[in-house]
Symmetry: C2
Subunit: 191 residues, 2 copies
């Protein structure tokens, strides 16, 4: 998506440790009017698919998920991060490995809010190694619901996550796909 690529080139900053800082518009400060445009694009991509629920993960997925959900007219459910290792009876649970923070944590969704028969669109701000996305897919399947696909704002396509998920036959639409990124050469998007 041209609009997003231009925004990333203008406002994104490459930091140490393969970090792309887009916290001026996506995940600390949120440019709400701009995120609405991304939401409309996700709706356009999935226009032909019946969707019953949007699933995301706290915290930085929530804004884009809510703004996108308006165009689908469906509720958003966000998976909560938890440090307890207790498996409660009333939640679905899954593990996420965070490479940025070098730790593993559990995510949970109440069984009330993911049901058999649901057709779920997963929304998140970033896709890199795919650990969060894989964990969200696992929650949906545990519920007996169907993953219609994922709508991702920025995919680091040089990492393996997106390809691994697509290889499972799951549709993944990323609005910007980064092919290469480093401080000296800047950001190159996939064609």
């Amino acid at each position: 998506m041209k609009l997003l690529e231009e925004k990333i080139l203008r406002d994104g900053k490459i930091g140490a440790g393969d970090v792309l800082k887009v916290d001026s518009f996506l995940n600390h400060q949120m440019d709400v009017a701009f995120l609405c445009e991304l939401g409309k694009e996700i709706k356009r991509l999935y226009a032909d698919e019946p969707i019953t629920r949007i699933l995301t993960i706290e915290a930085s997925g929530i804004g884009i998920a809510c703004l996108t959900a308006q165009y689908f007219d469906v509720p958003v459910v966000f998976a909560k991060k938890t440090k307890t290792n207790n498996i409660y009876a009333d939640v679905y649970t899954s593990k996420v490995e965070s490479y940025t923070h070098q730790k593993t944590y559990d995510i949970v969704v109440s069984k009330e809010f993911l049901k058999q028969g649901d057709r779920v669109l997963i929304i998140d701000d970033f896709l890199a190694k795919g650990s969060a996305l894989t964990a969200l897919i696992s929650l949906v399947r545990d519920a007996g619901a169907e993953v219609v696909g994922a709508g991702i704002v920025i995919e680091k396509a040089y990492q393996s996550g997106g390809e691994r998920v697509r290889a499972q036959g799951i549709r993944v639409e990323s609005l910007a796909r980064i092919q290469e990124m480093d401080i000296s050469n800047g950001i190159i998007f996939c064609e």
Copy 2:
């Protein structure tokens, strides 16, 4: 706000430890169309005030803040919770006491996203003892910005938070104010 009070009575559940569970529409699953109506009401209440930024706190404030921000046409900034006690030079920081989880944590906002001259509306899902709201007000003041007011979805008016903040001369608008709540008698709203 009648619409919200009816929703709380219909879908809210009173839990042990003074908990009001509204996770079917507000803070786990989010009824986005409904939250947009709340956002429009917050805009109506603050229609006469110039606002330059909306500030909230992760995670459950983000959805209502983003949906509300559309009607003000301003960006949202969310304060991040952190467990580190390091004070970084590039962030404003403040302490929140969580009574639900019985711990204290720091919240931070990058100095890039709160500036002198900003007129800030604080949005959150709940106001009870007021620890999060007080911490957000402190961040705004550290930045030399002005707190125009707060827009809260549900205030537990039988707790001291709202009154304490109003006593400082800060405008606090809560869309539903609970006067009394217990499992046997249910929920009674303020007149």
